[in-house]
Amino acid sequence: MTVELALIVPRMPHPLLCPDASEGYRALADAYAEARRRIEAVQPDLIVLYSAGWNSILGHQVQADPAPEWVHVDQDFHALGSIPYKLRMDPGFADAMTEAGQARGLRVRTVSYKGFPIDTGTVTALKLLNPDNRFPASVVSCNIYADRAETVVLGKAAADAIRAQNRRVVAIAVTNISHRLHSVPVPPDQDRFASLKDDEWTRKLLEILDEGRLEDVSQLARTFTAQAHADSKLKGIWWLASCAGAHNRYSGEVLAYAPVQGAGCAVVSLKPDALAVANLEFDEDDVDVYRGDRNVLAPAGETASTAGTPAPSAPRRSEATPVAAKSPARRGTGRVDVAADRAPKPVGAYPHARRVGDLLYLSGVGPRQAGTDAIPGGPIRNADGVAQEYDIEAQTRAVIDNVRRILEAAGSSLDRVLDVTTFLVDMDRDFKGYNRVYAELLGGIGPTRTTLAIRALPTPIAIELKVVAAAGDADLASLTGVMGG
């Protein structure tokens, strides 16, 4: 299952506490009501929220109190009244999202304390969208130091948990778009945007969202932040796009846009729609595993237990075999992970390779091309699942070329391959072609080999190789001796 509906809602309490104080507040309250109807039409079994108003420092926090209850008062708008609440959270999903985040390199933890101060935006959104707690919810915080990579990976962790638990989900970013408030209160009936510039930029974003182009807006977040007074760098939209699906195939609708004490507040509905416009010319990196983008001045060799993030580069194993600083990321004593820029991105939370001692263990390698994900020789089926003709020799050649790229990124080479396990989805059809190319490229090197037929691979490819190789600085003769002994 997946995200059935994505929403962007503001974090101001006015649509809840004084909806009739201005036309704009009423429009937002009505839009909340329409969003509520759309949620109920979906009948989700979970609502997942990212709240820009819940700040964290120690990584990200996920609310795990099953029934948080309090009388909330906003720090700024206390004169509007108190908000008593009793919410229904899903601790099991909070645990799953936390574990998924940790598996992707994030620091995530659950919080479950009586009286924990749930933020105004979360309380407002859940009171208006889920007033009878019909659907359980899960809320994750906004780390004040997190940038795009960390927030995107957080969204993917939420998606991992959704898939793992087979949930039918509505995902919500609780965030204003522009967040410059009037520095003195404005009577509600005279409320207006605090900055014309913010308003102009926000309207541009909303125009794109109205076309269902969520990922385009996610990619524009930095530009928006540089030009306007963005709410928390629009991290909420980074998270939402990553969680719901980083693409533009949504049916979008801006249900309302209005100023609340100067801030730009919008309610936006985005329904996944395979037929909608899709522009895949994205500029930003699509990060799968978080390895840290902060603490760049930390002393070399600093460990993750004392620093805010892992050291920015790993120490070289020896001067004789320099390894590109960006490639191996140190994960712990005695183990070095390899991320090869020139190989296709992993399709899950795993490194391209891991070095342990003098050996390199490669994750399964397929034929996809770095940067484009194109499959030489063609995919074995199209997007509709219809079988296609493909060239196994071209796929095999591409696989072995990807193995070579990964080994070279780790300071090794193809001629140091020791063992190969090959997976074919159609042994009868493909063995001969695969065997011919294998003999050409690896036969002379002579690693041990096992070939297996399997039902399917994660992407529409026909072949994958699992490889063990000697590290570039390992003494091959000595290694062979050890292995032989």
Binding site: I57, H78, L181, P185, T306, G308
Partner: protein, 304 residues
Amino acid sequence: MAESPTGRIVAGALSPHPPHLVYAENPPQNEPSAECGWEGLRWGYERLRRTLDQLDIDVIVVHSPHWKTSQGHHVLGVPEFKSLSVDPIFPHLFRFHYDLSVDVELAEAIAEEGQAGGLAMHVMRNPDFRVDYGTITSCQLTRPAWDLPIVAISSSRVYFDFNNDVGDRQMVALGRATRRAIERTGRRALLLASNSLSHRHFTQEPEIPEDMSHERIYHHGQYLWDMHVLDLMRRGRTRQLMAEMPDYIEHATSECKDGSLSWLLGAMEFPDYPAEVHAYGTVIGTGNAIVGWIPPETAAEVAR
């Protein structure tokens, strides 16, 4: 109302609010408990308390970075508050049951003086309001008996919405309004600026939060700035400090961006006498100093 001859600021202090210090003290009001931790700072607070114990104080006025307001400056305006404060960032360290009283007359006077000075001021009168953990931490560490009323002032986002110069000007104006209100109401007030100095956190903590083998400054440049700022305080050069404040805020990621210290120095008319630095230490990478200013009149009183 005519000025009271006894109304004045009897002392001011930089009294940072890391909840870790309350956690390590193990007061009965706090649910979590610790073995130890951050003794350098906690002992600094002890020294500050010994100094303050010699003074005749009516009220504590605290400016807290963790009551964040976008629209002007707010003051607590309800006589009593009793509730549970849970730190949203360090909930495993700080879940504090507080019971405090507010000097509403002084709070209202500060709001009036601020408004008269052109500031947007609000008196917070919602009895369900939860007092922020910065206010509670600074007051707990400075006066754990909770035997004095307080006035809490919020931290306006003026620095963030405009710039550091505008923020400092507004905070100095707020400080002067605070002083006028204290004089007008005849209070003998202790002022607390609740901010840290450099304020870049590590984003993870050790398994045992009070494991001091992990505690150090986030970055040497921040330490150098903190030492420079403390040196200016010790030499009574607070006007120079104010002149450098915008740069300090940016270069050291200082929590002075929340305005507390500028408010304090403005209220005390930029002390040219030496401050007493009772302690400096780090908390999860941030720089924190406990600093006291005792005006000459107060020092003379104590001497008598």
